[in-house]
């Protein structure tokens, strides 16, 4: 990815983005849907949009998902 496309991606804002508070509020629900192979992004597009743009929330989501997947091993 070159500088222009990285800057373009960074400055892109999705109007569906619900923000950190709402994403955190149902992160456990969203993670279970993803772990179960359900279309979580379709059911919660605002959460999906947020996780795509927010590094810290996406990091938390990755951690929670990893915990769920480890549990089912």
């Amino acid at each position: 990815m070159n500088g222009y496309s990285e800057l373009d991606r960074f400055l892109r804002t999705d109007p569906r983005d619900v923000g950190c508070a709402q994403a955190t509020e149902i992160l456990h629900v969203y993670a279970e849907l993803v772990a179960a192979g359900e279309p979580a992004g379709q059911r919660h597009p605002g959460i999906a949009a947020h996780l795509q743009a927010c590094g810290p929330c996406d990091e938390d989501f990755d951690g929670l998902l990893a915990a769920l997947r480890e549990e089912t091993r």
């Binding site: 892109r12 109007p15 950190c20 508070a21 947020h50 743009a53 929670l64």
Partner: protein, 223 residues
């Protein structure tokens, strides 16, 4: 706390009936005596295991290693256990109880990593080394002639379009690479507020660059 955008998901969460395993957790944790103590011990062990795994997962990208990282995991598990028992009545059965509980310990790990950043910050919060800006977006110095006008326009927009608070947050996160959670702690704010400030700043900068022909208008998420 307001969300970034008032438009919320089409499908809101609806409280489900609690599954048997979660109901058992709730019952025993809401009780008293040795059964509750045993459940707290078991839950703590689970939270500690998740915290340790999460610290190991994030460890390579942090300035924290060894006993310090292990200590962070123990603190996260202990604080998560306190938060869970205090907020037990808020569990709505939308997921398994353990998934809900794991979220607490993951968030505790994030918060403690954010606080740890300020023990040895690599740069002062308000350092203004704007020469780092091209590198932050991966612009190749060998092709400076191709991007210098764009970056100059971005710098102008940062100074003219952003509020002092937006500029401060942009500078800290983008130029000085301060993690968002660490910045939230330093500014006595929270993740959601800092994210919203950045969200609005990004939108303003995009609009300014688009108005001057440096970049297309934002169409993300629109059909």
């Amino acid at each position: 706390m307001a969300t970034v955008n008032p438009v919320v998901d089409e499908t809101p969460c609806v409280a489900n009936s609690v599954d048997p395993e979660s109901a058992e957790w709730l019952g025993v944790l809401a009780g008293t005596g040795p059964q509750r103590e045993a459940a707290l011990t078991r839950l703590h062990e689970m939270l500690l295991r998740i915290a340790q795994r999460e610290c190991r997962r994030r460890g390579p990208r942090l300035q924290i290693t060894g006993p310090e990282l292990e200590d962070l995991a123990y603190q996260a598990a202990a604080d998560a256990l306190v938060a869970i028992t205090r907020k037990l009545g808020q569990f709505r059965g939308e997921s398994r109880f353990t998934t809900w509980a794991y979220k607490f310990v993951i968030l505790e790990v994030s918060g403690k990593i954010g606080r740890h950043f300020w023990q040895n910050p690599p740069v002062p919060l308000d350092a203004e080394d704007w020469d780092k800006l091209p590198d932050r977006f991966g612009f190749d110095p060998a092709h400076q002639a191709e991007w210098q006008d764009l970056l100059a326009a971005l710098r102008r927009a940062i100074d003219t379009e952003l509020s002092p608070r937006q500029r401060q947050v942009f500078l800290a996160i983008v130029v000085n690479a301060v993690p968002l959670d660490a910045l939230a702690i330093e500014l006595s704010s929270n993740r959601n507020a800092i994210y919203k400030t950045m969200f609005d700043a990004r939108r303003r900068l995009r609009a300014a660059l688009a108005a001057n022909g440096y970049m297309g208008h934002d169409t993300a998420g629109r059909s």
